[in-house]
């Protein structure tokens, strides 16, 4: 297990390193010089040159990358060109919206998917199964931002139950939670449809195993065999999908945050791109990608802990 862990840690470090280099190179391709962007069109060339020097933009690219990387290791993601504040702090601020949103959506999608998947697997091939699986096909086809607009139309505009957008901050926990409900539902439903389908096929596969037949033979009802034996064994593929969904939810939140004007990480990336605040873009994207890589690493590790055969 220790050797496995060390190997996985090395590959984790390599992935993070390559990811950071890739992000840095793509951002370096973004046209427009941040220094001239900040000073406006009327600036003197000498002023721009001085600012470029202050910002370290005159250094060769590999050196700029190493500077950035060195800073990251010390917890410093640089300073925002437009807001003059540390990028790390800005990202932490925005995470207070994005992380709860992603977690709420993940919990919601699991809560919706579990009963649906179990219901469909228990009635495989019958009318109930066909109807529910048809509904999940529609769920998968829903663009979440469009679904979000419909939710706003119904629950904010017509029923006036929930806010249509904006975020009051965590000083008002009730209002803050309320403003995350519609975005979380919009994010969760299409993901729940995928999860329900995966759970159904995983359950159907385990239901065909000998130990289920044994359980039924010793008198367990179909429902109990499903809940007590099949569900637990079907959770492994479900865990994989959940790990992948976390990244979808963090990234999918970019568009949803724009629909609801939520001050999350996604909106930060967006605003920073339009303001040519590239150091912020770099930092925020890196945090997102690193979160995804880390979650997948943890999911992998949890398998190995459960199933010794995977520790090769």
């Amino acid at each position: 297990m220790l050797r496995y862990l060390i190997r996985r840690l090395i590959s984790l470090g390599l992935s993070l390193l390559v990811a950071s280099a890739l992000i840095f190179s793509v951002v370096a391709l973004v046209p427009g010089d941040p220094a001239s962007f900040m000073l406006g069109t009327g600036a003197q060339p000498e002023t721009v040159a001085t600012l470029r020097q202050q910002m370290g933009l005159d250094l060769p690219l590999p050196l700029r990358y190493l500077h950035w990387l060195g800073g990251i290791l010390g917890g410093d993601l640089g300073h925002s060109f437009t807001y003059k504040t540390p990028v790390a702090g800005m990202i932490l601020d925005r995470m207070q919206v994005s992380l709860p949103l992603a977690l709420m959506a993940l919990a919601l999608s699991t809560l919706i998917a579990l009963p649906i998947g179990m219901f469909a697997a228990g009635r495989r091939g019958r009318v109930g199964d066909t109807v529910v699986m048809g509904a999940t096909q529609v769920g998968i086809a829903l663009p979440n931002f469009w679904f979000a607009m419909l939710l706003v139309l119904v629950f904010a505009v017509n029923l006036r139950l929930l806010p249509a957008g904006g975020f009051p901050g965590w000083d008002h926990p009730g209002a803050a939670l309320k403003s995350l409900i519609l975005p979380a539902v919009a994010l969760a439903l299409p993901q729940a449809a995928i999860l329900a389908r995966v759970l159904r096929s995983a359950l159907i596969e385990t239901l065909g195993q000998d130990y289920i037949r044994t359980a039924r033979a010793k008198g367990l009802s179909a429902g109990r065999a499903l809940r007590r034996h099949a569900l637990r064994n079907a959770l492994i593929p479900v865990l994989t999908i959940l790990g992948m969904q976390f990244s979808f939810l963090l990234a999918g939140a970019i568009i949803i945050e724009n629909v609801f004007y939520l001050p999350g990480l996604g909106r930060l990336i967006f605003q920073a791109i339009t303001q040519r605040d590239l150091i912020v873009v770099q930092g925020a994207v890196l945090v997102l990608v690193a979160a995804v890589i880390l979650v997948n690493f943890l999911v992998d590790l949890s398998y190995a802990a459960v199933d010794p055969r995977l520790r090769r």
């Binding site: 990811a19 793509v26 663009p143 990234a251 970019i254 568009i255 724009n258 629909v259 967006f270 995804v292």
Partner: protein
Amino acid sequence: MRVSLILGALLSGLALVAAAVSFFWTPADVTQLAIAQKLLPPSAEHWFGTDHFGRDMLSMIMVGARTSIAVALVAVGIGMGFGVPLGLVAAARSGSWLDETIMRGNDLVFAFPSLVIAILITAALGPSATNAIIAIGIFNIPVFARVTRGAALPLWTLDYVRAAQVAGKGRTRISLQHILPNVASLLIVQGTIQFSLGILAEAGLSYVGLGAQPPTPSWGRMLAEAQTMVALAPHVAVIPGLAIVVTVLGLNLLGDGLRDALDPRLRRSP
């Protein structure tokens, strides 16, 4: 399940026909603005109503279908064009450093949240339909590489492939003559799925302003423009969304149906 095949073909066919017909006929001219007739609800004259510039929504949807289909189709082409050869090579040299490099590269691309990178790429290259294609296409490459390798690996242990090796055929010729035809059906199924994902991705990118630029109509941008008017005229938001849902649903059903039809082994278990 013949039902999903037929239903899927019908639903996804709607968008294809609409796009094809739009090249020589639309109910109204989409470049013609008629502010006096703006935001009209669906009627006999305008089946899908009109938008905030008074343009006929049905015509906009038809022309918008072209953008969605073109972007998603070319993105699938990029994914197959690069991914399939990579997968074939990885399978032919399985266990070698080449295989290892290709597969680790795949894992890395998978780790990136595709939407974030698509946004970054379109921001770097400038927003346009072409750059949306590139951004979506890049993420199709590892999908096809993985599917191809996964399907090709077991084929390399089969007797007829062994026989071809013994007879002196090179790995490249075996890959092209024996492996590729046998993984083709799986690639068609995956292609359908990636096609539907591409339509969703294009809509998302256009929605945030990084896809096709005005005046080219696109379903995603129609939704973005509708956002501020959704309370006044719900149809401007509902109709483009329905177009996306119907097309994506159709393609997914088609993919399911094709998989069942092309792979008889799957027919036993529903």
